[in-house]
């Protein structure tokens, strides 16, 4: 059984936003709402600057607060592959998960009323395709695969460089890994 994960190699991101639009088209995300985003953060004073470009999305945590806080059992972590998903018909739109998620990964779909989120493009995985954001990523900054498969792109990426997760101290055990926070060589 696969253990899906994503690696964001921040060195390769150019903040072109292709992932954002591809995701919106693929997953019918309503206007002004997003399942993924790219943040641009700059530190320092001219001309000594450094910039971080960071794609953010659902971390598909192994210890998912959104699941624990869901009062109706709508949010769940699929045992087969570890993707955090939603049973839409059980969601009442109470926003408990939205408030519980430390990554701001969830939103109430304002057209449909349920607590929407990234699914790692579950429907595309079934067809043997990569998630839409990964498929279109111009810089190949987004890397997807099975953590249990030593030959998968994510394992290759994680082997080749040091990585971190977001808000490690929150104890959520994310499945989205980040390689090199800052773009300049340390």
């Amino acid at each position: 059984m696969p253990k899906y994960a994503m690696v964001i190699d921040q060195r390769r991101c150019v903040a072109c936003m292709a992932c954002v639009i591809a995701c919106k088209n693929e997953n019918e995300v309503p206007p002004e709402q997003y399942r993924t985003r790219v943040l641009e953060m700059v530190e320092g004073e001219f001309p000594l600057l450094r910039m971080e470009l960071r794609s953010e999305l659902c971390n598909h945590c192994d210890n998912p607060p959104c699941v624990y806080n869901c009062p109706t059992g709508a949010s769940y972590k699929r045992t087969a592959d570890g993707i955090v998903l939603l049973r839409k018909n059980r969601c009442v739109g109470c926003k408990a998960c939205v408030a519980a998620c430390p990554y701001d990964a969830r939103y109430i779909n304002h057209e449909k009323g349920f607590a929407d989120k990234c699914t790692f493009c579950d429907h595309r995985l079934k067809e043997g395709k990569e998630p839409a954001c990964v498929a279109t990523c111009i810089g190949k900054s987004r890397i997807f695969g099975d953590l249990d498969d030593p030959k998968s792109p994510v394992r290759i990426a994680l082997r080749s460089a040091d990585s971190t997760v977001l808000l490690e101290g929150a104890g959520t055990r994310p499945r989205v890994y980040y390689i090199k926070k800052f773009s300049k060589p340390e």
């Binding site: 903040a15 002004e32 790219v38 004073e45 001219f46 304002h110 300049k184």
Partner: protein
């Protein structure tokens, strides 16, 4: 674009269902039906036209609606990936603001009062007026302004009509001087896509190129790949661009002094003997003259000009020199900066030659020598009068000098220009000094615009002909001359919406009415493409199915024993010294000339691209507008504070001639020098028909009232304007 945390708390409670347009609901139903297994999607390959890169795309169609665009994996320009704009192509297709029917002006020109017309009426009117112009003044009095794929239809039309007065802003407002500079040096331009072998580079040098924000798909892919394989990156840019943020060496140069830096680099490379002598001896001319003419360009001299420390100039020169020839000196693309742009491009080319990078792995690779046989067509009539679109500039290219046509239209000399046919370009946003454009238009008997969207120039036309989008039409085959020869097909994914029509149909129908039907001897464009394929020995069926065919065994990218480069210069060699330039009265080797700096209280106005927009043409695209809905004026934090401006304030820019911009949001940032401001190009569309982007942001072109014409190529340097900022009252 800013995503603020916790915005959902503000928005989620508000009933916003009304925001969803009808089209999206249909999409949702279709996606649901697909999920339920009720309908099967079809996939149609074509190529994109949201910019000019021509990326292969595959459209997913559900029940006659396009629901997703993906990159075509077999297409060299996209390699399975599309940028944000390419992904957002559906936004253009289903934009409710599209031009839907032919329109005929019923008010004063520019007033924007139109009535709907049938195609027959609109085409009849255009043909009648074109015939009148021909009769009264001769066919040369019609001019064509064009860009992109519409050119393949309307250039033959206007050539058959009898005029050679063609102007493409891609020359005099963009890459013209660069191409001329490289042609004078190597005998050919750097190509489009530029033949930069960044994947294999050990050093990449970008000068004023903001790759990443400038989203040229395959080139950005190569750039990122090269950098992550360990290429050292040197970025010369007065703004801390996305590329600069990836650089080992960022050189925040004083604007307008790039040539000084280049000459200093050339001097160091020569004096420290880091050039490739065997290569130069074999392929080049004029080394000694070059050496003497740059000998005074010391790092200390350049430091004073460029504001870059001499030590850093030396360090970067050595980084470049020691890694040759696997060094990409990027030729840039939009090169019309200061009016000496051919000479700056010459310096880039000369540096490339010194390093021996032309034709070498990691440098500039050689174009494929293969080509497809040209289809035979009826020869066009010889014009009776000398075309005036070179403007008398000795090295102006065949794409023409747009503003020379504009000047002649205003003056009526050497002969009157009475009609403008405009397609694929929004002249109001492309040409500097809008006053002149407006004045020229006022002198016309006929202004016809073919466009998809009601852009600024379209809404000034006497007759507007609505072209359908790239997803609804055939266009000419795209012949790619990268490492290998490739052929791509544009084919309709869905039927044209409203009453819009493909460009080829419009051209053919007009030709009929102008008695030029014999120049369009096919029934449909598909017939023409099929015939072309069979002449070239390409399977049309394969092309239709795959979208792109790469012709095998056509790549010969690097210099080898049996793959020797040819230089189509006068001497047949790389011309470090150009006798041709000397003969025409120009510097045979680039010489640095100081440009005026902004006066006290003023900032130099510069402009560039956003990764999610292509000039003005995408500003109203719902998907892209959502990500970036107005441009901002970038200003250094310190200067902003001194002016009492902070992030998010609105300000008005006033240029040296007193021209004011519309209000524009302030981006007070550390990422820019103190002597300049920066705008993303193409904003402040005037037509109210663009319901989203109308009057959003500020128009850089409106503030570019002055331009420095390059005497060699006739191109317009547009970074020579100075502006003041004032908080919006």
């Amino acid at each position: 674009m800013k995503f603020t945390r916790r915005t959902f708390l503000k928005t989620s409670g508000i009933a916003t269902a009304g925001l969803a347009v009808a089209a999206t609901s249909t999409d949702k139903f279709l996606l649901w039906a697909e999920e339920a297994g009720l309908i099967q999607p079809t996939y149609v390959p074509t190529f994109c036209e949201i910019c000019f890169w021509k990326c292969g795309a595959i459209a997913k169609v559900l029940n006659g609606r396009v629901v997703k665009l993906d990159g075509n994996p077999v297409h060299g320009n996209s390699r399975g990936k599309l940028c944000a704009r390419g992904n957002g192509g559906i936004g253009l297709l289903y934009d409710k603001d599209r031009l839907k029917t032919p329109l005929i002006n019923i008010g004063k020109r520019g007033e924007g009062k139109y009535r709907k017309a049938t195609w027959d009426e609109a085409l009849g009117l255009v043909a009648e007026k074109m015939k009148a112009i021909k009769q009264q003044h001769g066919p040369e009095s019609m001019a064509l302004f064009t860009h992109g794929t519409p050119t393949d239809h309307f250039l033959p039309l206007l050539s058959a009509y009898g005029t050679q007065n063609i102007g493409m802003p891609s020359f005099a407002q963009c890459r013209g001087p660069r191409d001329v500079g490289y042609e004078l040096t190597f005998g050919e331009g750097p190509g489009s896509p530029e033949r930069v072998d960044m994947v294999n580079s050990r050093v990449i040098v970008l000068i004023g190129s903001h790759l990443g924000e400038n989203m040229h798909n395959s080139q950005v892919q190569d750039f990122v790949e090269g950098v992550s394989r360990g290429a050292k990156l040197i970025v010369v840019d007065p703004r801390y661009s996305i590329a600069a943020a990836k650089a080992q060496q960022w050189l925040p140069i004083r604007p307008a002094t790039d040539l000084a830096l280049l000459l200093a680099w050339i001097n160091i490379i020569i004096s420290e003997e880091m050039y490739d002598w065997p290569y130069l001896e074999r392929y080049s001319e004029g080394f000694m003259t070059l050496m003497h003419s740059v000998s005074h360009c010391t790092p200390e001299w350049a430091e004073k000009e460029t504001d870059i420390p001499a030590a850093q100039i030396v360090e970067t020169a050595r980084m470049i020199g020691m890694n040759a020839p696997a060094v990409t000196i990027h030729p840039g693309r939009h090169a019309t900066w200061y009016g000496d742009d051919v000479q700056r491009s010459r310096a880039l080319a000369i540096l490339t030659a010194l390093l021996g990078s032309w034709g070498r792995s990691g440098g500039m690779f050689l174009a494929t020598k293969a080509s497809l046989p040209k289809a035979e067509s009826k020869p066009f009539p010889e014009p009776g009068k000398e075309p005036l679109n070179t403007g008398g500039y000795p090295f102006a290219g065949a794409e023409g000098v747009t503003q020379a046509i504009r000047t002649a239209t205003i003056s009526g000399s050497p002969y009157p220009i009475k009609g403008w046919f405009v397609c694929g370009t929004n002249l109001m946003k492309a040409l500097p000094n809008q006053k002149e454009t407006i004045e020229a238009i006022s002198k016309l008997d006929l202004l016809v615009v073919v466009d998809v969207m009601p852009m600024d120039t379209a809404m000034m036309a006497d007759v507007i002909l609505p072209e359908c989008t790239y997803l609804e039409r055939h266009d000419a085959l795209a012949i790619g001359k990268g490492k290998s020869l490739s052929v791509s097909l544009r084919q309709p994914v869905v039927k044209p919406l409203y009453e819009s029509q493909p460009g080829w149909w419009i051209a053919k129908e007009l030709a009929k009415r102008l008695d030029l039907g014999e120049y369009f001897p096919w029934n449909t464009y598909e017939d023409k493409i099929k015939a072309q394929c069979s002449t070239a020995g390409i399977s049309y069926d394969d092309l239709k199915k795959l979208g792109c065919l790469t012709i095998p065994d056509t790549a010969a990218p690097y210099i080898t024993y049996d793959n020797q480069p040819t230089f189509k210069t006068a001497t047949g060699k790389i011309e470090l010294y150009s006798a041709e330039l000397k003969e025409k009265g120009f510097d045979p080797v680039p010489v640095y000339v100081r440009h005026p700096l902004p006066p006290e209280g003023f900032f130099r106005l510069t402009y560039g691209r956003s990764a999610v927009h292509t000039f003005s043409r995408t500003t109203n695209n719902p998907a892209l507008y959502e990500l970036y809905s107005e441009n901002e004026v970038w200003i250094n934090v310190k200067k902003a504070q001194a002016l009492g401006l902070k992030n998010g304030d609105y300000a008005v820019l006033t240029n040296q001639d007193g021209v004011k911009s519309t209000r524009v949001k302030v981006k007070a940032t550390q990422r820019i020098r103190e002597d300049m401001v920066y705008l993303v190009h193409g904003w402040d569309s005037t037509p109210k028909e663009l319901t989203r982007s109308s009057r959003k942001g500020a128009d850089d072109q409106g503030l570019i009232t002055r331009y420095a014409v390059d005497p060699i190529a006739g191109s317009t340097g547009m970074r020579v304007n100075f502006v003041k900022l004032q908080k919006e009252a």
